[in-house]
Amino acid sequence: MPLAIKHLLGTEGLSRKAIETILDTALSFKEISTRPIKKVPTLRGKTVINLFFEASTRTRTSFEIAGKRLSADVINITGSTSSVVKGENLIDTARNLEAMNPDILVVRHSASGAPWLLKEFVDCPIINAGDGAHEHPTQALLDLLTLRVHKKTLDGLSVAIVGDIAHSRVARSNIHAMKTLGMNVTVVGPRPMIPVGIEALGVNVEHDLDKGIRDVDVIMMLRVQFERQGAFLIPSVREYSNLYGLTQKRLARARPDVLVLHPGPVNRGIEIALDVMNGPRSVILEQVNHGVAVRMAVMYLLMGGGDEGIN
């Protein structure tokens, strides 16, 4: 079956139709997770390998559950338990895994572009589960699904993405997808966290949080990535929290129907206050719930499901 795209590597260049197909399919898949028997036989006999070279709770579990709910056999490999510790490189690892005939390879790696490198060496479809500071397409799709569930239409919706835009694959994937869908995106953060020239992607830049979130439909908070460059970009955590932390007081000045998203894991009390995180405007746990449906949809479509697959 001729698929227009074989891999899901990023949202950059992904068509509006492809995004909508994935979201429509994911909406239908949501119901499966509410059944007493949360499983359909669709991908029976298919093998999904989760190859994770970076720490992850949500994404890895979500891919594993998604595969299992479609009856695929899911194998998890993490960096620390693989032969990478013996010095095997990424390409050799992937080629050896491919020799065991998996049907989908899900890859997370700290190097930007790692899945693009791999696709030159392996034949099976690859899903990017996050590559360095580059892309995290399924996260953007689950964010969009969450917005779809709450808002009538995505077209024209305005979003503020707040935090370390420069090192956020979540921000990048969301910006590409949101612009494709005709949404208005403002990135908000201190200067060192906003890449020079990001306006070229069609986004507005704002350095003042209160201004940035005043009239938006959606606030997407990003995590300060202390394991990456995060800590070096700001004078102190406390200052960042004072200037860019989303508190109930700040939220009260935004629209009453604003949605608050966060890709997790959350640094509690730093980029988002506890009462906001657990408050009525927060849809953070819904995002996690939608992650399973979106990943099921992507696996199903890459395996040949859907009228025209993803194109």
């Binding site: 079956m1 239908s28 359909v40």
Partner: protein
């Protein structure tokens, strides 16, 4: 070549009769759940539901089932249609399920539907109502309620149009031009 097999009136009478047969066989609609297979089976099941409520003044439970995820041809490289919503908001344990579909052909759709139902629970019985039975079964499946039996060749296409989805009620058989 296209020939009309059932008119709007024929379809309405067939549904009327099937509704009566369902009520007769199950002695009412108390423990009944009408489950329509997306897309046109769902329409038929809704019509049966309103017909049953006309006859017995009882609202039979109703659900819709998308069987795409239970198909046996995804791996064969054939295109699988778009996944649609499944909605069976009842506990089906111990209930009598009447599966509804427009055309019964190879029986593979019904096999998939039965598999899907079993994932929702353990019904007391599963019955099958179809508007058209065109033969050529590939599995040991037979309908309990049939609108009309239409002898066909495998090359023919049976097209069911229902006003909710297609703007008109009709059943036609199209001979493929070979």
């Amino acid at each position: 070549m296209t020939s009309n097999i059932l008119s709007a009136g024929d379809i309405s009478r067939a549904i009327n009769r099937i509704a009566h047969e369902i009520l007769e066989k199950n002695k009412g609609a108390e423990d009944l759940i009408l489950v329509g297979i997306v897309t046109r089976g769902a329409v038929l099941s809704q019509r049966l539901q309103s017909k049953i409520s006309e006859i017995e003044n009882i609202q039979a439970a109703h659900g819709i089932l998308d069987i795409t995820l239970y198909r046996d041809d995804l791996a064969t490289g054939k295109k699988a249609p778009e996944v649609k919503q499944t909605r069976i908001p009842y506990n089906i344990d111990g209930k009598v399920i009447v599966l509804c579909d427009d055309v019964l052909f190879t029986g593979r759709t019904i096999r998939a539907a039965i598999d899907a139902l079993m994932d929702f629970g353990r019904p007391a019985a599963v019955q099958l109502a179809v508007l058209v039975d065109r033969g050529h079964r590939e599995l040991p499946i037979r309908p309990d309620y049939v609108g009309k039996n239409i002898p066909t060749s495998r090359q023919m296409r049976v097209q069911v149009h229902l006003s909710e989805t297609d703007g008109e009620d009709s059943v036609t058989v199209v001979e493929s031009e070979k």
